[in-house]
């Protein structure tokens, strides 16, 4: 965990072998930009693809083969990887 979160600031927590937790004042919308209203404090977004309640997590990753240790070093490495999205000229 890092420094204090300012009020209104959003955070994404990448959970090992699990979902993304989104916390804070963040707008939720579909690909066309239509905003979806919700009153949840934190939402868990599915990463494993097995949720019956996509895009939300329903705990189904536990029975899946989805694996991602999701530690800070791994996330940083993915962001910095040559040939990865950051360096992709397209």
């Amino acid at each position: 965990m890092t420094g204090p979160l300012r009020r209104g600031e959003a955070s994404i927590t990448v959970c090992p072998d699990g979902p993304l937790l989104v916390r804070g004042a963040v707008r939720l919308e579909d690909a066309e930009g239509t905003e979806v209203d919700h009153d949840r404090n934190v939402i868990a977004l599915c990463r494993c693809g097995r949720s019956a309640r996509k895009p939300l997590c329903d705990g189904s990753h536990r029975g899946s083969r989805f694996r991602d240790p999701a530690d800070a070093d791994g996330i940083a490495a993915a962001l910095a990887q040559p040939g990865g999205p950051a360096d992709d000229p397209h």
Partner: protein, 421 residues
Amino acid sequence: MSSELVVLPGRTERRRNRRPGAPGTARSGRTSHTSPDQGPPGRPPADLEQTPLDRTGLDRARLRHDRPVRLPASRGPVSEALLELLDTDPDHETPGRAGAHPAGPDQDRLQWSGPAVAAPTDDDLQLALWLSYELGYRGLAGVDEGWEHHPVLLAARRGWERVLLDGLELLTVDRLGPADPEPTAEQVVAALETLAGTERGPSLSGHLMRQATVRQFSEFLVHRSLYHLKEADPHTWGIPRLSGAVKAAMITIQLDEYGLGEVRAMHAQLFRDLMRDWQLDDRYGGYVDEVPAVTLLASNVISLFGLHRRWRGALTGHLALFEMTSSTPNARYARGHRRLGGGPRAAAFFDEHVVADAVHEQIAAHRLAGGLARTEPELGAQIVFGARTVALVDDLFAEHVLGAWGTGRSSLRRRLVEGRS
């Protein structure tokens, strides 16, 4: 217990758009209801407890305060002695005899003498513990509130808690194998993941999803009412015992449990709506006489961990595994509820748990249990112990309920009447 009786007072709300045979419709042939005056002794007529919708449409009954629990019948010598004690004046003490209470029963009678391995499922012991803890929640009807922290009661409860903890230790080792005495924080989280991911024995949630009858589903809700009508309260005892990021993690979870302060969204209120949809008595503690020891155990274990600072590790481990084993079963309960014709609004209780607990399990595992293990490494084994008690109690409960249903019996101490039209 073999007497047949009805524990479902009727309700006054009108129902719409329900399939025949659905919970809440006037059904024939399955679980049904007698008139209120045929209810069990000590239970008031249902119409005294039902508040009709007022003119603004505000369902005031949903917003009401819980009342103190009506005293249940004793289940053995210890709970009988406790009920006798609770009937006396706690301030009537003899000077010079600390903790002595001349008006109450002989204090030896408050000691439970069975073997530790039997403690978790002993009706007499679990009821005594439950009564002693309920003094700290909504109270006991007609019992002086001075008993809550009375030395005579606390001394007796200390003995009950010790034998229960010994029994939990014995049974968890027996069923789940030995536990690591000094796990690291990473090993604590890994142990919780293993417990959450391991299937042990037949699945109660699978049965409720696919096969359970209306009466079985009603029984399930009756069992669960002992906890869910005070949902989150036992874990909340832990908040002042934690600090920093670990406390923040628990607050994040409990915020949702209490509906972000919105009374209608409080999980206990969602459960109350669900009970009404199933035409069950939604009074706090209303079914205590019906539920067996293992159901009281589920509630007592959290109260025990929550009320003692020294068990804060077990409390966080308990909450973590509770949350980690919630989303998938609740999705199954929701399907069972809908299969049996349960109302869409009442299903909110299950749906909310699927979504909220998918969040909670991550926070509970990594920041609450894992966080506490990092800040107080000596609590690691205790955190895992708390989680193991969840697995044990779940298994004992599933075995009891499926065992009864598998042989055509009720899982309750008194059967819900069926066959009336």
